[in-house]
């Protein structure tokens, strides 16, 4: 699907003559270039002007919008993105872009999606609060500005133009990606835009609550240190945050912990080389991921990397303790941490301005669904802590200890047992993130013979390799 057909944003195509003019000029510019046989095309005054103007648009596309930007500025910024992407996608042939900065492609797409995210949240808030009729009217009149279809369209078009999926597949097969890159994808700028659009899709799907599609989006990207996203710290970080979060929402806690741990360890190892400004922006996400790890560990107790464990105890020590204890007291803590750490979910369609009370905050919606599973599991820590003390136990006796009915305890035992099976991703180079094998993740196992519970605990052999390696490297250093 290209930008012209299908779901082209109405504003860019219909009401914005600037954009079309821009495309015409770009066409013209290329013709001049062609006829001139490589002659400097900047000697044509209006073309030079246009090029300069476009260059400033590029710069603007990667600039953060002021926190208190007016609605007008937000609309203008959207128009600017439309113009930029329209030019990049719809000019005749690939455009020669002079990227204003080294990682412009990431910065621009990151800012594009951030503005889409904040705009959608803002629009929903205006509708919910219903106390700003003037802005509500403007938003009502322009339902397609920062529309979800337009944003998805930009990302998919960039992916398609750059043939990035084909390129990545070729790289996986150890073939030359340039052979399948096509005229656009051979250019570094298109390749980067295409690549980071895949990461962008991961983010947008996650923001819309489509967690399985979010993970599926990354099918073509290999998660390793050689991946292109790893070269840009912010991209690296964003990718793992959304992948980890999606895993958590799919109840694949072992995988989620693995993703969060990977990136947090990476950050802690590189923080000395990070420039301060960059590091500051990472600190917030860092804390969010620690909160998510706390949630995942509560669902799936496991040994964490020492660095992370220390950081977790420092930052969320009290909360972690409550989560691990389970029961009704843990519920507010789950809610608190989820709210701190979740993405700012959005709704893909404009809110209903006529019925303010019908516009529930998407964050609350996703939280309430998530809490269903939390509540289902909240007795598991209690049950397990008792079971650990025995090798056999009578169900009615245990029910007495816990002060519940035997029927209820039977349910708890079944829930706890069923949740020890989890899909876990195996990284063998060609598995998609959604794939995995069903493994038993708990060291505690039990089976029932009528009302008699047989319990067995897996003995953990000591893990020495990690300890050995750490001390070895300490001695070396």
């Amino acid at each position: 699907m290209s930008f012209q057909t299908g779901m082209a944003p109405a504003r860019a195509m219909d009401n914005d003559s600037d954009v079309e003019e821009e495309a015409l000029v770009a066409d013209y510019r290329e013709q001049v270039q062609y006829e001139g046989g490589g002659m400097d095309d900047f000697d044509h005054p209006s073309v030079a002007q246009q090029a300069e103007e476009f260059q400033s648009r590029l710069v603007q596309a990667a600039q953060p919008l002021d926190f208190q930007a007016t609605l007008e500025t937000k609309f203008a910024s959207y128009d600017n993105y439309c113009a930029v992407f329209h030019h990049i996608l719809n000019s005749e042939g690939p455009v020669d872009l002079k990227a204003p900065s080294h990682y412009w492609a990431w910065d621009a797409l990151d800012e594009f999606l951030y503005q889409f995210n904040t705009f959608s949240s803002y629009r929903a808030r205006i509708a919910r609060q219903a106390n700003n009729e003037e802005e509500a009217q403007i938003l009502r009149d322009n339902p397609n500005t920062w529309g979800c279809y337009s944003v998805l369209n930009v990302l998919y078009s960039l992916i398609q133009k750059s043939q990035i999926v084909e390129q990545l597949a070729a790289t996986k097969r150890n073939e030359d990606p340039m052979a399948v890159a096509g005229p656009y994808g051979q250019k570094e700028m298109y390749r980067m835009l295409g690549y980071f659009s895949i990461i962008g899709l991961l983010r947008v799907h996650c923001l819309l609550g489509d967690f399985s599609l979010a993970l599926k989006t990354l099918d073509d990207i290999e998660l390793n240190k050689k991946a292109m996203f790893a070269r840009v710290m912010a991209a690296h970080f964003t990718t793992y945050y959304y992948v980890g979060f999606s895993y958590m929402m799919m109840r694949r806690y072992a995988d989620a912990i693995r993703m969060f741990s990977h990136i947090l360890v990476y950050v802690s190892r590189t923080k000395n080389f990070q420039k301060n400004t960059q590091y500051d922006s990472i600190t917030k996400k860092n804390d969010q991921m620690l909160a998510l790890i706390a949630i995942c560990v509560a669902f799936h107790p496991t040994r964490l990397d020492d660095t992370i464990h220390t950081a977790l105890r420092e930052k969320y020590g009290d909360q972690l303790l409550k989560l691990q204890r389970g029961g009704p007291d843990s519920l507010p803590v789950f809610e608190e941490l989820f709210k701190i750490a979740c993405p700012k979910f959005i709704s893909p369609v404009p809110p209903d301005f006529e019925k303010p009370e019908s516009n529930i905050d998407p964050v609350d919606h996703h939280l309430s669904v998530f809490m269903d599973e939390v509540k289902t599991n909240m007795w598991s820590p209690t049950v397990k802590s008792y079971l650990r003390l025995y090798t056999t136990m009578d169900l009615k006796k245990l029910a007495g200890f816990l002060d519940v009915q035997p029927e209820e305890l039977r349910s708890w035992l079944l829930v706890s047992k069923q949740r020890t099976k989890q899909l876990r991703w195996a990284d063998n180079g060609h598995n998609g993130l959604l794939e995995g094998e069903l493994v038993n993740i708990s060291d505690l196992d039990y089976a029932l013979q009528g009302d008699l519970i047989h319990i067995s605990e897996a003995k953990m052999g000591r893990k020495l390799v990690d300890w050995y390696l750490r001390n070895l490297s300490r001695t070396y250093a």
Binding site: M1, G6, Y149, Y156, L208, D210, F211, S212, L213, M249, M250, R251, S347, P348, V349, K355, E357, S358, N359, I360, H365, H366, S368, V369, F370, D372, E373, K375, T376, E407, R410, S411, W412, L413, L414, V415, K417, Q418, R419, L423, D443, D445, Y446, A447, L448, Q449, G450, D451, S456, E457, A458, K459, M460, G461, L464, V465, L469, L472, S473, Y476
Partner: protein, 238 residues
């Protein structure tokens, strides 16, 4: 996960959900027909059904209430799994949380199904059958799904076999939603292939999950773990 990507999925559906066609509002009709097929032929395609919910999410004017509830009931039959929750995440908040002023038939139906699903996820099987029986609305909501009760019953039996070696028929009767000991016996012997031991006790054959065997987890040590150390000592001495 067979309920997520079943073998029955035809080529046409595969093309829709793996390509950009999944955003084409017209694809909704094809996916709706496919859901109908799933309901009749007793299989479940979670990914295809969520692609349909996604289309509804982006094009609310196309929403058909009974399609949404059928998808939810289908997802419910896969318990315990995140499938049902993943569907809820794709619904508009106003559809899954009936507010005081916005209660619609759809939001009421969704909240009913949500409560039902919670009981299955929470292994409260006896209360589940009681809830199902308590209101005619459940019969309406599950009527399109062929063999709904049978699928749930089989799934419960399968899950029990993963936790139990022996179980009392009195407990089974409630969990399987059956009437009387005779029905229970018939079901466990004929459908599940379990044995009646002494009076009132059903014996479930051994399997990997109901043994609770003692294991020791050892650390696997491979040479790769030491590659950096070895490389470094090599470089240092060179």
């Amino acid at each position: 996960m067979s309920g997520e990507d079943p073998q029955e999925r035809p080529e046409q559906i595969r093309n829709i959900i793996n390509g950009l066609e999944r955003y084409n509002p017209q694809a909704a009709e094809v996916l709706e027909a496919y859901l109908q097929q799933q309901c009749e032929e007793k299989f479940c395609d979670g990914n295809a059904n969520r692609a349909l919910l996604k289309l509804y999410q982006l094009n609310p004017d196309r929403i058909k209430d009974e399609v949404i509830t059928n998808i939810l009931v289908k997802a419910m039959t896969q318990f315990p799994s995140p499938g049902f929750d993943l569907c809820l995440h794709l619904l508009s908040p106003s559809h899954s949380n009936p507010g005081p002023n916005s209660a619609s038939d759809l939001s009421e139906a969704v909240s009913k199904l949500r409560a039902l699903n919670l009981q299955l996820e929470g292994a409260q099987y006896a209360p589940f059958w009681a809830t199902l029986d308590s209101d005619d609305i459940y019969a309406d909501l599950t009527t399109d799904i062929a063999g709904f009760e049978e699928m749930i019953r089989l799934r419960i039996a399968q899950l029990l076999s993963q936790a139990y070696r022996e179980v009392q028929t009195s407990v089974l009767e409630g969990w399987l939603g059956l009437d009387g000991e005779e029905e229970v016996k018939k079901f466990v012997v004929e459908t599940c292939g379990w044995k009646m031991a002494e009076e009132g006790i059903v014996q479930i054959p051994k399997n990997a999950d109901n043994e609770a065997k003692k294991t020791e987890i050892r650390e696997d040590v491979t040479i790769d773990m030491f590659s950096r150390v070895i490389k470094r000592s090599w470089e240092d001495s060179a």
